[in-house]
C-alpha cells in the first residue's frame, strides 16, 4: 500500500514492522524523528520492543551490543557526531560479528558546526566492519531497512543504512509499504547464534586475543565481507528485482560520459543525463547503493564504454589524492584496459545545494581537455 512518508518516517515504519527486541537511541538532528516516532509506537503498544533512551550514542551502540549478544534483534538511529561518538563501539560490534542495524542519516561533522547533510560521517566508518547501504529516496530507505536484518543475520555483519540528512530524511514522498504480514514474513524470525542467554552452553564473548590469533580473527571478518556480496544480492533479489545489483545503472550501456554518485544527488544527476541525451551526448550514471562491500567488479563491468568519468564525493578530501569514492574507483579502473579519465567533484558539503544545473556543469567540465583532479561544485570563489 502507498503511504506518504519522509525518509525518517519510512525508517521508523520499517522498524515498526520489524519489531526489533531492543531499540537504544539518543536524539540527534536530522535523525531525531526516527527514535521519536519509534518511541510513539512503543508508548502506544504498537510494538513489544524495549526502547532504551540512552544518555549518549556511545551507550546506544553499547546497549545494542549487549542486546544482540543476548540473541535479541537490536537497532538504533543516528547522525554525524553521534556516529562519530559511536566509532569505537561500531568497530567493536563489527569485530564481534553482531547483526545490529543502524539507520544513519548523513550529516556533516563539526567543526565548524553544521547540522546539514554530507557523507563525511559514514564514510569515516568505511573500515569499521559494517555493511553500508546508501539509499537515495524514502522508498529505498524503507526497502533497505526491511532487507537489513536478513542481510545482517545471514552475513553475521552489522548493517548501516545511510541516507541524506534533510534531502531524504525530511522529504515526504509516496512510499510503497508492504503489509505488516508480508514485511514480517520477509524479515523472518531472528537467526540463532551462540548467545549470553544460552545458560546450558555458557559463551565467553569479546575476550582478549594474543598476537597468535588476532590476525586470523580479522581475516575471518574479511572473508565475511567477501561472502556478503552474494548474500546482499540474494536478499535484494528476493525483495525486488531492482535490488539484485549493488549499483543502479542509468543509461549506462553505451555511455562515454559517466557520473558516479551515492545517495539522493542521483536524482539531480539523472535529470542532467537526460538533458545531455536529448542533445545527443552519450551520458550515463552509476549510483553506488552498496558502498561496503565495495562493488568494484560491477562498476567496472558497467562503465566499459566510458571515456570520462566524473566521480562525485560528498566529503572533503583532506591531504588525500581525492575523495573516498574517487580513490576506491580509481583503484578499480586502474585494472581496466580502457583506462578512462577520472575527475573528482566535491559537492553538497554541509548541504551546499546540488541541482540538475550543477550536474550539467559537471558534464560540461568533463568534456574539457584539461580539468583539475579535484573540483569543487557550487563553491563561492
Amino acid at each position: 500500500m502507498q503511504k506518504i512518508l519522509t525518509g525518517n518516517e519510512a525508517a521508523a515504519e520499517a522498524m515498526r514492522q520489524i519489531e526489533p527486541d531492543v531499540v537504544a537511541a539518543y536524539p540527534i538532528t536530522p535523525s531525531t524523528k526516527i527514535p521519536e516516532k519509534f518511541s510513539e509506537f512503543v508508548a502506544n503498544g504498537k510494538v513489544r520492543t524495549e526502547f532504551v533512551a540512552v544518555e549518549s550514542e556511545h551507550s546506544a551502540m553499547s546497549a545494542c551490543i549487549g542486546a544482540a549478544a543476548s540473541g535479541a534483534r537490536a537497532m538504533t538511529a543516528t547522525s554525524s557526531q553521534g556516529l562519530a561518538l559511536m566509532h569505537e563501539v561500531l568497530v567493536n560490534a563489527g569485530g564481534m560479528r553482531l547483526p545490529i542495524v543502524v539507520a544513519n542519516v548523513n550529516r556533516a561533522l563539526s567543526a565548524p558546526l553544521s547540522i546539514h547533510g554530507d557523507h563525511s560521517d559514514s564514510l569515516l566508518e568505511r573500515d569499521s566492519g559494517w555493511i553500508q547501504l546508501f539509499a537515495s529516496s524514502p522508498q529505498e530507505v524503507y526497502d533497505l531497512m526491511i532487507q537489513s536484518f536478513p542481510i545482517a543475520e545471514k552475513t553475521r555483519l552489522p548493517v548501516m543504512v545511510c541516507f541524506d540528512g534533510f534531502e531524504t530524511s525530511h522529504l515526504s514522498t509516496n512510499v510503497e509499504v508492504l503489509s505488516d504480514t508480508a514485511a514480517q514474513k520477509f524479515v523472518g524470525q531472528p537467526k540463532k547464534f551462540p548467545n549470553l542467554f544460552d545458560f546450558g552452553k555458557p559463551v565467553t564473548l569479546g575476550g582478549y586475543t594474543s598476537p597468535e590469533y588476532f590476525f586470523e580473527v580479522k581475516r575471518g571478518q574479511f572473508e565475511a565481507f567477501e561472502n556478503s556480496r552474494k548474500i546482499i544480492s540474494a536478499v535484494g533479489k528476493k525483495f525486488a528485482a531492482n535490488y539484485t545489483a549493488p549499483i543502479e545503472k542509468f543509461k549506462i550501456a553505451d555511455a562515454e560520459l559517466v557520473l558516479v554518485v551515492m545517495g539522493s544527488a542521483a536524482g539531480a544527476a539523472k535529470v542532467a543525463v537526460e538533458k545531455l541525451r536529448a542533445k545527443g551526448k552519450k551520458a550515463g550514471l552509476i549510483r553506488v547503493r552498496t558502498f561496503r562491500p565495495f562493488p568494484g567488479k560491477e562498476i567496472l563491468a558497467a562503465c566499459g564504454k566510458a571515456k570520462k568519468i566524473g566521480i562525485l564525493d560528498r566529503m572533503v578530501p583532506l591531504g588525500s589524492e581525492g575523495g573516498v569514492l574517487f580513490n576506491e574507483l580509481n583503484s578499480i579502473l586502474y585494472s581496466n584496459n580502457s583506462k578512462p579519465t577520472t575527475s573528482n567533484f566535491i559537492y553538497g558539503i554541509g548541504q551546499r545545494q546540488f541541482n540538475p544545473d550543477h550536474a550539467e556543469q559537471i558534464f560540461a567540465d568533463l568534456q574539457k581537455n584539461k580539468l583539475p583532479k579535484i573540483n569543487f561544485v557550487n563553491l563561492r570563489a
Binding site: S62, G66, N195, F197, F199, T204
Partner: protein, 309 residues
Amino acid sequence: MNLQAAASRKTRLTGGHRLCPGCGLGAIVKQVLATIDDPVVVVNATGCLEICTSAYPQTAWETPWIHSLFENTAAVASGIDAARKALVRKKKLSGKAKNLKIVAFAGDGGTYDIGLQALSGALERGHDFTFICLDNEGYMNTGYQRSSASPLGAATSTSPAGKILAGKQTARKDILGIVAAHRIPYAAQSTAAHHLDLIAKAKKAIETPGPAFLNIFSPCPTNWKAPTALGMEICKKAVETNFWPLAEITNGKWKLNFKPQSRKPIEEFLAGQKRFRHLSKPENLKLKQQLQKEVDQKWQELLQLTEIS
C-alpha cells in the same frame, strides 16, 4: 547466606586464570557470584579481570560472559537487561532463564573515570543489574597510573613521588556518594577480605530489583608494592583506620556496618605499601596529615548521614 553455603556452590570463575598472586579480584568475583542461585550473565569492563580470565582460546568463565570495551560496561548491561525484558514479553525466554541476573564488573577506572557516564545513565534508567566496582585505586593493568580513585599522596606512575610533587595531589572521588545521589535502591561498600559483609551485600544487591552498586576494595600487591601475603591484611587495616568504611545505603538510608572502638591511625594502613613510602619522610608530613584529616572528615560526614537518614 553463610560462608559454607557460598563456598560449596559450583564456582563460576574457575582456577587457571592469570591474576597475580595476592590479587583481590578473583576472591571478590568468586564470593559475589557464589551468592546467586539464578543464572548469571557477567559483563566485564576492560582491565585485569577481563585480560586474565578470557585469553582466547581459553576461558575461566563457567557462566555467560561478555567484554565489549572499557567505558561502556553499564551500557552493555543495559542492553542485556532490555533484551531480557523484550524476550520475556515476546515469550521467547522461559524457565529459570527468566530470572537471570546481570552482574557487571569494572575497575575503578572503568567506574570513577571513563565509565562514569555510562554508569550514571544506566542507574538513572533503572535497569535491573548490579554494578560492582573492583577498586584497587588505579589503572593496574597498565602499571598503576593514577585514577580518580587513587588516594591523596599515593605514588603512581603518573603521579610519582617527586621532589616537588610527592604523589597524587588530590583526594579520591566520592563514588559512593555520587551513586547514592542517583537514589537507586541499594548501594554499598565492602572489601575483598570482609567475607561475611561482602557476601551479604552481594546477595542483597543482586536480589534487589532495579540497579544496585557495590564498591569493593581490592588489594593489588603488585602495584601497591606490598608483600603478596599482605593483601587481605591491608583490606582490614583500611577498614580499621576508617580509610574504607563498610557502609550501605538501602532506599536512601545510610548505615555503617562497622564502627571501630577507636579508629587506628592512617599510618597502619599505609605501612607495608611502598606506594606510600615517601609519606613517612619529614618533608611530606603535611601531606600525610592532610590524608588523615580527609579520612576523619569523611567519617564524620558518614556518621551524620547515618543519623539523619
